[in-house]
């Protein structure tokens, strides 16, 4: 067999083993973060500080995107539904699309690029500038003091941001369908009210966004903590956070949807 083919197979094997090793490493790190979350719960002001950076500062992008996604949904939904004379169902279409799918998924994708990348870059740079080592030498555990508060802040803010995204989306759909196009406001809202179920739609959407919050933030803190302490190491880790989170969000979404809505 030519040498090149053997080398190719070796590379595949090597990267597979390396990938599995990293996955194991990440899982252990995730458990370590959970184990060391006591400090975050005892000193909740540490988490509140991070909630501001992770959650509040992500609000603008979430609000604006939610509004536009809802407006597009209203426009597209109206165009299609009016062919069948059922344009009053546009409220249901907008609300169900947002609450079940687009709210949690798009909000999580935006959250990964806005907050996830920031968390990775911050922790990575703290590592590169020896701030984490310095903290360890001061007998303060960096996982408990730096990583865990950011993790919990992300987990808490994700479902809230997804909810805000959906609300803004519904409002955007209302603006386009009712205010601009002139669909009857009564049927817009009443159809939405009768067709959106709290447990099946809203609660499941909420559960989805909780899963995404854990996944995105866990990836972000791990990539930051694990990044090589150099400029290109931190930039690579930041990119990996966004790419891996996005793939995990979409993959998880399929699995969760299959479990939640199959046969409904």
């Amino acid at each position: 067999m030519p040498k090149r083919i053997i080398a190719g197979i070796q590379r595949v094997g090597h990267s597979t083993i390396e990938g599995i090793r990293r996955l194991g490493h990440a899982t252990r790190f995730f458990l370590l973060v959970l184990l060391k979350s006591g400090t975050s719960l005892r000193r909740f002001n540490l988490v509140i500080r991070e909630l501001f950076y992770v959650g509040v500062l992500s609000l603008i992008i979430i609000v604006v995107s939610g509004l536009f996604v809802g407006m597009v949904l209203g426009l597209q939904g109206y165009e299609t539904l009016q062919k069948y004379g059922s344009e009053s169902a546009v409220g249901t279409l907008v609300a169900l699309s947002l609450v079940r799918e687009l709210g949690p998924v798009v909000a999580a994708l935006l959250f990964a690029s806005r907050a996830g990348s920031a968390i990775t870059a911050e922790i990575g740079l703290m590592k590169a500038t020896e701030q984490l080592s310095a903290m360890g030498m001061m007998a303060v555990d960096p996982v408990a003091r730096v990583v865990a508060p950011r993790f919990w802040a992300g987990v808490i803010s994700m479902p809230l941001l997804a909810a805000i995204f959906s609300v803004m989306g519904v409002f955007g759909g209302y603006l386009v369908a009712v205010v601009f196009i002139g669909v009857d406001a009564g049927s817009f809202w009443s159809q939405m009210q009768s067709n959106v179920d709290f447990r099946i739609d809203i609660l499941n959407g909420f559960i989805k966004s909780c899963f995404f919050g854990v996944a995105v933030t866990a990836i972000a803190v791990f990539e930051g903590y694990d990044s090589p302490p150099t400029a290109e190491g931190v930039s690579g880790a930041t990119t990996r956070t966004v790419v891996t989170s996005s793939l995990v969000i979409l993959g998880l979404d399929f699995i969760l949807t299959a479990f939640m809505f199959r046969g409904l």
Partner: protein, 270 residues
């Protein structure tokens, strides 16, 4: 000055993967002394500090700090020990999201239950000792390199440690900041009766403030003595290092095959 031994290093070996970094190092450091560890880049100086701080575990041998073997301590005991140690990182490693005041107050808030009014007084006293009381409200990004190093020094003495380790404290400083840091290290060591270990390759500044010098080369102690011994030393390595000569026992060239061969001017034997 008392002659009580605070740090004892015995037959210390450390390897990274298969590369030997430290090879049978013995040292002893007394309370109240300023000790310099000198050596070229990559000679294992910083590794030695990490071993004293318990960040890494030796392959064999031990480091004892105030009678306790560092790598045998449990995690809690190690953290308790580290509260009595300070470390000044090469570029200060200040927490960039905290102000100068909060950086110095960090350990007090984490490890003590002191009321905020007392923390305020203590922080201002520590900052006063390094001459930066007036800069307490600044953020680390607003400080010059020398000022950042002084804040880091104030932070490392926050809990009045018995041992402070300095990783290259003089690198990248202008001559004034350099002597300020040097004299601060000496004065604080005397005032707090602690032990200071300085890893450095700045010969002139360190010889003027230290009590004892160890030279490390290739993972072993090449020479040691008081600053006067070192200045007068005829040992080839020490002489080359102290006088900054380009060639000597430490060669200018990284090991390589012959120059002719590299330039493909020499016929290889078939």
């Amino acid at each position: 000055m008392s002659s009580e031994t605070l740090v004892e290093i015995s037959d210390l070996n450390f390897s990274y993967n298969t590369r030997r970094i430290l090879n049978g190092v013995n040292m002893s450091m007394n309370r109240g002394q300023v000790i310099a560890i000198m050596g070229g880049s990559g000679s294992g100086k910083t590794t030695l500090l990490k071993l004293i701080g318990g960040e890494i575990t030796p392959s064999s041998g031990y480091v004892k700090v105030s009678g306790q073997v560092i790598h045998e301590l449990s995690r809690d005991a190690l953290f308790a020990m580290r509260r009595k140690m300070g470390m000044l990182f090469q570029f200060g490693a200040l927490f960039t999201d905290l102000s100068v005041f909060d950086n110095v107050a960090f350990q007090m808030r984490e490890h003590t239950n002191l009321p905020e009014s007392m923390i305020r007084d203590l922080v201002l006293m520590k900052l006063h000792a390094v001459g930066l009381r007036g800069a307490h409200h600044l953020m680390p990004a607003e400080l010059s390199g020398g000022m950042a190093r002084r804040v880091a020094l104030a932070r490392s003495i926050a809990l009045d440690p018995m041992l402070i380790m300095f990783d290259e404290p003089f690198t990248g400083l202008d001559p004034i900041s350099l002597s300020v840091i040097g004299s601060l290290i000496r004065r604080l060591t005397d005032a707090l009766e602690m032990t200071s270990v300085i890893v450095t390759h700045d010969v002139q500044e360190s010889l003027s403030i230290v009590d004892y010098v160890y030279f490390i080369a290739d993972g072993v102690i090449a020479a040691h003595g008081t600053p006067d011994d070192v200045r007068a030393s005829k040992a080839p390595f020490v002489h080359q290092f102290v006088h900054g000569e380009t060639d000597g026992p430490v060669p200018f060239h990284y090991p390589a095959q012959t120059y002719l061969k590299d330039l493909q001017l020499e016929k290889t034997v078939a």
